[in-house]
């Protein structure tokens, strides 16, 4: 067993029932010459031990920015305007550099979008994993390499490939290597940002199975970020749907699938043709995501919403003037929509 400190801290927080990660009213702005673009707008959610939270939304909805904010990776012109992020009850925004070093990678790690394409091309994979380990712990080179070997076994790559360079590995292998890197110090929470988007469907299925097995075995929580809602329904415990920087709906995977409430969620579900079942015409959602510097008044989705029309003038007035608030309209099922 490698001598890297990978002792699994108790997966149960001292107060069982308290979440591992708690995000409250998180707001991130990007300062542009035309004014601030609010990429994340008072977003709140929690992740419990062993839970998989899916964060769904399309490009520009703020999901990646929210993930970066959790890891305190937002740099100017981005800025975290308000909000509290607590991990195991410690305020992440107040952590010192030393505390951050311990927080990052040991407690929360992240697989970035296209991480597999961002590997250092002139270092072997083994060297890069060792680097990550040694950056956050006091470990010798030999011990770090042993840990890397263990990790490769864990994710199912032939350990001889530790000496390979990224360009010598296939896309699927690189993604597994990047996941191995994220697992290196046995974190409690792993953030996966579009982990399978660039991969073919068969490799994607393989990687997902791998992630699920590892999660079942090691018990970490996952924040799974993707635009592919059909994938999230398969793997998540709960799903939160984001649009234009806000969470518009949140429920268990099953409930969201059985009864999507927000018209945007419904529209997203209608964007995935199926390979079985009756063939029906699907429409997707007309229009495009809004400008985050000057978003639409009232509900941000109203210009594209099939439920927004002058046929119902009272509702229309609400939809175009008042921002809807996230409310629990069924047990465990929250939605921000004037229809409810």
């Amino acid at each position: 067993m490698a001598a890297v400190d990978t002792r699994v801290r108790s997966r149960e927080t001292p107060d069982a029932g308290r979440p591992l990660l708690s995000v409250h009213e998180l707001t991130v702005d990007y300062l542009t010459p035309r004014g601030p673009a609010r990429a994340v707008d008072h977003v709140s959610f929690t992740i419990g031990p062993g839970e998989i939270l899916g964060l769904a939304g399309e490009s520009g909805c703020g999901k990646s920015t929210a993930a970066h904010a959790i890891m305190r990776l937002i740099k100017p012109p981005g800025r975290i305007t308000t909000g509290v992020v607590r991990f195991r009850d410690r305020d992440v925004m107040l952590m010192s550099e030393r505390e951050l070093l311990d927080f990052r990678w040991r407690q929360v790690s992240i697989v970035f979008q296209s991480a597999m394409n961002a590997l250092n091309p002139v270092l072997s994979i083994g060297a890069q994993i060792s680097d990550a380990i040694r950056a956050h712990t006091r470990t010798s080179r030999r011990q770090a390499w042993e840990r890397a070997t263990e990790l490769f076994e864990l994710v199912g790559i032939d350990t001889g490939r530790l000496h390979s360079f990224p360009h010598q590995l296939s896309g699927g292998m690189r993604q597994r290597a990047v996941i191995a890197m994220a697992l290196a110090l046995n974190p409690d929470l792993i953030i996966l940002d579009e982990p399978t988007t660039a991969l073919d469907v068969v490799v994607q299925r393989d990687i997902l199975q791998q992630i699920e097995e590892l999660q079942a075995r090691l018990g970490f929580s996952i924040l799974f970020i993707t635009h592919d809602l059909s994938l999230l329904v398969e793997v998540s415990t709960r799903i939160a749907v984001m649009y234009a920087g806000k969470i518009v709906e949140s429920a268990t995977a099953r409930d969201l699938f059985d009864e999507p409430l927000h018209p945007y969620t419904v529209g997203l579900m209608e964007s995935f043709p199926s390979i079985t079942g009756p063939k029906e015409r699907l429409e997707g959602i007309p229009g495009a995501p809004p400008d985050l510097i000057t978003p639409p008044r009232g509900c941000r989705f109203h210009p594209r919403c099939p439920q927004c029309s002058l046929a119902r003038p009272d509702l229309y007035q609400l939809q175009t003037e008042v921002e809807p608030v996230l409310r629990e309209v069924r047990p465990g099922h929250w939605v921000a929509c004037h229809l409810y």
Binding site: G172, V202, V203, R205, D206, V233, E270, K279, E283, G284
Partner: protein
């Protein structure tokens, strides 16, 4: 042998493309070749949408580029109205290009960032000598924009690509392809770089253009679900070879080839997925260099037999209209 259906406008036979790889080591190392496309045959009928489905490395994009004459084929023929499109030159090639247009995957990369939408649509008219004076051309541009749902057309025509969303740019690319009234559009992953919620709009537009203008499509994709939605017939490619081909519904409902079954089981489908489903999916498409005989899928096939490793299966037609390249279906020794 393929029976030539009436109304076949493009018949591809034995299409093959080899790319040189590095020489084998040693003083007398022979040439090594990557077999990107190997002996692919199919027929496209008027008004038909044919999907070429495969993962990266399957050869599907290479086939489109060969048919668009973007690079030369190594072997094979592509009969278009009786002549082999792969051998055309000069004026005949120009005419062919006017009839067979291409739409690419990257909606930003395929448009010139410093030219207006109007310019993009006028160019093919000029090149194909279909422009008839300024006013008529301008009108044609606006008609095209209206056809693809970009309104108001006069405003859109004046815009630059960066002022449009991804979906809008892809509509411009479609309009450009339509400008010269082609018979065939080669659409190479036209929606995979677009946001999910706008993909269906583009697919519906493709179908509508087929219904209204009789355009045929070769729809290249890695996504089986969209192939089922849009295409009449689907071809499955693996490592450069055709593995199975049938009407889309039949292919999805009764896949014959083990690779097709693997592909289908790998697609996320929440309607069937909430119960767990294990799939033996290890392995990826090999890069095929100077291949030995045998089936290219043998290394990953759950139903592999001895013959699969020794003899390359040929394409047979175990059911009418349903072709497959697999020893499980009585493929005679090659």
């Amino acid at each position: 042998m393929m029976i030539q259906e009436p109304d076949t406008i493009l018949e591809v036979r034995g299409l093959t493309k080899l790319f040189p790889a590095s020489r084998s080591p040693g003083l007398w190392g022979g040439r090594r070749y990557i077999h990107a496309v190997d002996d692919v045959s199919f027929a496209l009928r008027r008004g038909q949408i044919l999907a070429l489905v495969g993962e990266s490395g399957s050869g599907k994009s290479t086939i489109a580029r060969l048919l668009a004459r973007l690079y030369p084929a190594t072997a094979g023929r592509a009969l278009f109205h009786g002549s082999d499109a792969l051998q055309l030159r000069g004026r005949d090639l120009l005419r062919y290009r006017g009839k067979v247009q291409m739409v690419f995957q990257d909606p930003f990369g395929s448009l010139n960032p410093v030219k207006t939408v109007g310019h993009h649509l006028e160019r093919p008219l000029l090149i194909q000598r279909q422009a008839e004076g300024r006013r008529a051309t301008r009108q044609r541009v606006q008609d095209l924009l209206a056809t693809v749902g970009l309104t108001p057309p006069a405003e859109v025509a004046a815009k630059l690509p960066h002022e449009l969303s991804g979906g809008q740019r892809q509509r411009v690319a479609l309009a450009r392809a339509l400008a010269v009234n082609p018979e065939v559009i080669l659409a190479d992953e036209p929606i995979s770089m677009l946001d999910v919620s706008i993909r269906m709009g583009i697919l519906n537009l493709l179908a509508q253009l087929r219904d209204q203008h009789g355009v045929s499509y070769l729809y290249i994709t890695h996504d089986l679900a969209s192939a089922r939605y849009l295409a009449d017939e689907t071809l499955v490619l693996y490592a450069g070879q055709l593995m199975e081909s049938a009407r889309s519904e039949e292919l999805m409902a009764e896949p014959l080839h083990p690779y097709t079954r693997l592909l289908l089981s790998a697609v996320p489908d929440p309607r069937t997925s909430l119960e767990k489903r294990r799939v033996e999916a290890r392995g990826e498409i090999p890069v095929v260099i100077n291949p030995a005989p045998g089936c290219r899928f043998a290394g990953r096939c759950p139903l592999v037999m001895d013959i699969c490793r020794q003899v390359t299966p040929v394409v047979t037609e175990p059911r009418p209209g349903h072709r497959v390249r697999c020893h499980l279906y009585g493929s005679p020794a090659a």
